[in-house]
């Protein structure tokens, strides 16, 4: 990170051979710096320079992938401490712990919760990210059996949890080619656990009692040739965990402290027995620098708010979330129900639809595609304008669904009503409220 196009240019052959499909080496260097080209496209750069540039352009926090196929997840690759500075990239992954000292019914129940948890919001599917399989008994056979059971029940990536290398070996064998995360290497088992991860090319979590020991352990494991690490500072006290996570993120980003340039794993399930407080702690680690977050259960009441939190905090501040452009049925509207239009900025949609729903008056809510901007912004940008709204109404088929021809527009764009009536001669344009909070009383008046 942080190499300029000129820094890169100095290391290129400067022959302008064009084999990279760019006109000059300088143009190629600029594209490389912007992350829009790959160094592999230059056939002449030396291996030495290649390694140097790869290291310099490596993200300060490595991205680590766990699992295979559609359910695989990646954590890390974060570039900032505060989301407004750029954005956060890979949302905290929620994992649910099953253990080989639980009875079958309990494991079945937890796996059922994991598989049933799926919510769609603004076109994003929110779900449980992983299953943590814990060897509590220390018995390799039991661990293998539990891993088999989890594999049969779900395709979610697994986090295998044991500090006993022999037990872990059995686990890795049972996990097959599913690319599990091994949890954890410690000061005591680092040589053997590191060797196992290296041999099988698997990601490995490093757990230590404090940050000094964690830095030592991380250096030791990278010295053994391991690249995909996850860090656990492991204080298991919420305040101290927060402090450690802030320190890790800051050290990696601001100090380029390479030993801490990896994503993190947290265990709110081990920090409290209070299910509500455990959920709150998982929320804290979703905001402040948790990579993988381990939970004791995955009931809908806790997963839905936590997953929406991840969605909110990891939304790119530069690119507002947009909902699909179409007519939404709020309640069960019929041919006499009011027809309203607004823009496809997700927040606008959620607030307007929420107020309509709260009014208990069913309605048709038309959402116009304006690149996810709010009403006033879209109007000012020439996107929420009569031609666009008219085209949306005419192609939406709403005229076949209602008998009346009254169209409610947001109060903030009252000035377009005349022009919109010209574009939509069959419709009467009604000026709605400026604020969403006033929609319920407006709808009650409209329908009386």
């Amino acid at each position: 990170m942080g190499l300029s196009g000129l820094d890169i240019f100095k290391k290129l052959p400067k022959t302008n051979c064009k084999e990279c499909n760019f006109p000059t080496c300088l143009a190629f260097a600029m594209k490389l710096a912007a992350g829009q080209a790959s160094l592999d496209d230059c056939p002449y750069v030396t291996d030495e320079v290649r390694a140097e540039l790869a290291e310099a352009s490596a993200p300060p926090i490595r991205g680590v992938t766990v699992g295979v196929g559609d359910e695989a997840f990646k954590v890390g690759e974060e570039l900032v401490l505060f989301r407004h500075e750029k954005t956060f990239f890979n949302p905290a992954v929620l994992s649910v712990v099953v253990s080989d000292d639980m009875d079958d019914a309990k494991v079945d129940e937890l796996l059922k919760q994991v598989n049933e948890c799926e919510h769609e919001r603004v076109g994003v599917i929110l779900k449980v990210g992983a299953v943590t399989v814990k060897s509590a008994s220390g018995d390799a056979g039991k661990f293998k059996a539990l891993i088999e059971k989890v594999k049969d029940a779900t395709k979610k990536p697994m986090i295998l949890m044991s500090e006993d290398v022999d037990v872990m070996k059995a686990g890795v064998e049972a996990a097959g080619d599913s690319r599990p995360l091994l949890y954890a290497a410690t000061e005591a088992n680092a040589d053997a656990m590191g060797a196992l991860a290296k041999e099988k090319d698997l990601p490995l979590a490093a757990k230590a009692a404090d940050l000094d020991k964690l830095a030592e352990l991380s250096d030791k494991l990278t010295g053994m040739g391991l690249k995909d690490l996850i860090l656990d500072p492991a204080p298991r006290q919420a305040g101290q965990t927060f402090k450690d996570l802030v320190a890790l993120r800051r050290a990696a980003l601001n100090e380029k402290f390479v030993a801490f340039g990896y994503p993190t794993i947290t265990f709110p399930c081990e920090e409290t027995d209070d299910e509500l407080y455990e959920t709150a702690l998982a929320g804290m680690y979703t905001c402040k620098y948790g990579g993988i977050v381990n939970l004791s259960h995955a009931e809908a009441w806790r997963m839905y708010p936590l997953l929406v939190l991840g969605l909110n905090i990891y939304t790119d501040p530069q690119r507002p979330m947009a909902v699909d452009s179409k007519f939404y049925e709020i309640g069960t509207p019929d041919e006499n129900s009011p027809v309203l239009v607004t823009t496809n900025f997700s927040l606008t949609y959620f607030i307007v639809s929420g107020e309509i729903e709260g009014s208990k008056i069913p309605a048709w809510l038309g959402v116009v595609d304006v690149d996810g901007q709010s009403v006033l912004t879209a109007w000012a940008a020439g996107k929420f304008v009569p031609e666009v709204i008219a085209k949306f109404i005419n192609t939406s088929g709403i005229a076949d669904k209602v008998k009346h021809r009254k169209l409610v527009i947001p109060g903030y764009v009252a000035q377009i009503s005349g022009e919109l009536e010209e574009e939509l001669p069959d419709w009467e344009i009604v000026i709605g409220t400026r604020e969403a909070a006033d929609i319920p009383s407006f709808l009650r008046q409209l329908s009386s």
Binding site: A280, A300, R302, I351
Partner: protein, 316 residues
Amino acid sequence: MAFNLPTETAKGKVREVELGAGGKAKKEGGENCLPFHLWEGQMPNRPMVAAEVSDEVGEFPAALEKALGDVKNDPVAWAKKAVGEWGADAVFLLLTSTDPKATDAPPEQAADTVIKVEEAIDVPLIVYGTEDLEKDAELMKVVATKAEGKNLVMGPAKEENFKRIGAPAIGYKQTVVGMTPIDVNLAKQLNILLTNLGMEADKLIIDPTTGALGYGLEYTYSVMERLKIAALMQNDSMTQMPLLGNVGFQAWKTKEAKSSQEEYPEWGDPEKRGIMWETITALALLLAGADILVLRHPESIRLTKKLIDDLCAVGV
């Protein structure tokens, strides 16, 4: 490789604002570090959890009805319970009855309730109108007059009515919350206007508008982080007021918090779901820099206070 904890020292600090008067007074703000970064600064007053009490409640979601029981229609009893049983650090009295779109109760009547509640509790009182610009101005004038010298925290003062709320607050020695729509510069601007009017800067609190979880939380989160960073790292005077997050009202308005199990079976237990919707909104804002959090459900109050305790219990 030995590790040295990276620390950042702030150039500025948040103003210490006193809420309430006499034996009920409590200070808030005063921090010179990012939220809970106690290894590089101090938070002399830990964030405050205020319980929302309303002078008129229609229908509440079942989880709130259950938690409130028979105090729902008695703001004095409700406030006493919130302080005595739930451990609220302050009471936030929402004068719902004055809403011109509903009951439209006269300011004098609402102000009587303010006095009764204020006298019944031994913690600071925050009083909010219903965000009707005209009615709030009339209301706060009466409230400020009747409660002279009690140093109530009154709001929300907005760009359109700040003079009519600020002037009686100055005259009768109250503190004011300025409310702006999720924007750092608008928040600063309103503070400049209020101080130009004659308000002391240490009698101001910022309400940057709260978006609930799923309803714009990320905007409030980032605006609070930016205000706090401006206050501490840039020493920007007009951002150095404590921040208020009006969480309960916004969180319990969402269908995710208030819907029953029958309406959305896939969302699970409605009571725990509602509590978490509120608590997660609160904790996100706590981490972003809120100094005062306004909550409704006693469990949300408990959980938020516990988190504050845990975050403050860290050695340097």
